[in-house]
Amino acid sequence: MRRSLPDPALTAAALEGGQAELDALVRAWLPLVYAWSHRLGGPGVDAEGAAHETVLTMCRRLDRVRAPEVLPSWLFGICRRTIANHRRRAWLRRWVPGASTERAWTGAGPERDAEAQQVADAVWKVLDGLPAAQREVLILCELEERSGSEAAALLGIPLGTVKSRLRAASRAFRAAFPEADPLVAEVS
């Protein structure tokens, strides 16, 4: 689950260099940006569209980055705003009966697949109900297994705030789960 952040040297090279260096920076960050778009956006958000928009914004505004070390939190901020816009658009679809969401595929047979999908749907539902700030720390710390300091650097907030948000988010997540889908309790 955990993916290391790309080397800041790539950012330094892109700030100084040309298109090839910029492409290398995009290539290095794209898997992370795509994963954030997928996980923070949820099933209603077009993760590919959001990731594409995020890297285009990064390319357009890279000259505002003053030091390579600040790129991760700066880029996370862009990704967060892009996803917020996509979530807003996706929200409209919630009102539409018949609109589909992505389906997980585990490759373990239809019965197992349906069961996994029910759990995943319930997890998405609970995540979707959390405030964005809590959703972010849960994804970074629990799903991507990043340290508190790493999450604090990405979010641009103090370590203590990450810890308190994580505690609150975990509490809210646990509290919401039984109501989210009783079937999950059976499955787990």
């Binding site: 689950m1 492409d23 995009v26 794209l30 997928h38 590919e48 917020a84 807003r88 595929w105 799903l143």
Partner: protein, 335 residues
């Protein structure tokens, strides 16, 4: 099962997705803007010029434009007692011991040597920050004007009614006053995931002040429709949609109709939604027309099929696979 285990039940992102985004990026990339090689030279020259001006002039009062391309940017030693860190735009006026900064946008850091008898005020439309010997930062953005104190004490007087003293570690945001500023605050709060109550507060305050018929009133209403609907207040959202149309705002008419149509559909079904959806028959997006077709399919299958067929024909890729499949179902096999 703990939180981490449950989260790990989420499907992993499709590994091929990264390659598809990469391909889109490669096919449509634009050259990134670069900092021109001469920019640092200009910046250094501007800072040096500003310092020279500060040191050389003997008049009791002087004025400097602050910000990119202005008299001073980055760091500025206004006097031996006052040092400024600039990441935004404004104007500094005064003497070495009495400085007024009219701050327009961005962040300004101010360091004043304590007990030097130097007075500094940072003035914005939303409020005034007044200090005598301290270190603090003022940021003016869409949320308002936020003052953070690192050392010493500052007096803040907001025009929204709040006033008080801030000590190290404390911060306060003076909120915007005008409807357009409150609209920006509402958007910034929504983007940051703030509770809907806070967003609605900014929108309500903006709407309470807006002149009848002003375009910003329509924008505020359009936002409130969305926020109310997201907060589950369908009746409030639909009342706002009625008000939006009654006041004759036009720029977001289609968006308002589409949102109200979906809200009404969720609340009262097709019977309640049709009055919002019907006007979208010609002007709406393909998705709007698919929804309308779904509401017409029982009483007028031929019209529903025609609408769905037209929606599929007009789709420029905005509809995802689920929507297209739904539209195809509604065509009833029509070509």
């Amino acid at each position: 099962m703990d939180v981490r285990e449950l989260l790990q039940r989420l499907p992993e992102p499709d590994p091929a997705g990264v390659d598809r985004v990469w391909a889109r990026y490669r096919s449509g990339r634009r050259p990134a803007p670069r900092v021109p090689l001469w920019a640092p030279v200009i910046a250094i020259a501007a800072a040096a010029a500003a310092l020279l001006v500060v040191n050389a002039r003997t008049e009791p009062s002087r004025s400097l434009a602050l910000g990119p391309g202005a008299d001073a940017e980055g760091q500025l030693a206004w006097s031996q007692q006052v040092h400024l860190t600039l990441d935004g735009r404004g104007t500094a006026t005064g003497t070495g011991h009495d400085l007024r900064i009219d701050w327009e946008s961005g962040t300004i850091g101010v360091e004043v040597v304590p007990h030097s008898g130097t007075e500094v005020s940072v003035v914005t439309e939303e409020g005034t920050v007044h200090v005598v010997g301290t270190v603090f930062e003022v940021e003016r953005d869409a949320l308002g004007v936020t003052t953070r104190v690192s050392r010493g004490k500052v007096e803040v007087a907001c025009r929204d009614g709040w006033s008080g003293a801030l000590t190290p570690g404390e911060r306060h945001t003076c909120t915007p006053l005008r409807p357009a500023g409150l609209l920006g605050r509402a958007d910034a709060l929504a983007d940051s995931g703030a509770p809907s109550g806070e967003v609605l507060d900014a929108l309500d305050r903006g709407l309470a002040q807006v002149e009848p018929g002003a375009p910003v009133g329509g924008e505020l209403l359009a936002r409130r429709i969305r926020v109310r609907a997201e907060a589950g207040d369908a009746e409030g959202a639909l009342a706002d949609a009625d008000r939006y149309l009654a006041e004759g705002h036009g720029s977001r008419r289609l968006e308002v109709l589409a949102t109200a149509g979906r809200v009404a559909l969720g609340q009262g079904g097709c019977g309640a939604a049709l009055r919002w959806l019907e006007p979208l028959r010609r002007e709406g997006t393909p998705e709007d027309r698919v929804i309308l077709a779904s509401c017409l399919v029982e009483r007028d299958p031929a019209a529903a099929a025609a609408l769905a067929t037209a929606a599929l024909a007009d789709d420029d890729g905005a509809m995802d696979a689920g929507w297209r499949a739904w539209a195809r179902d509604l065509t009833g096999g029509a070509p």
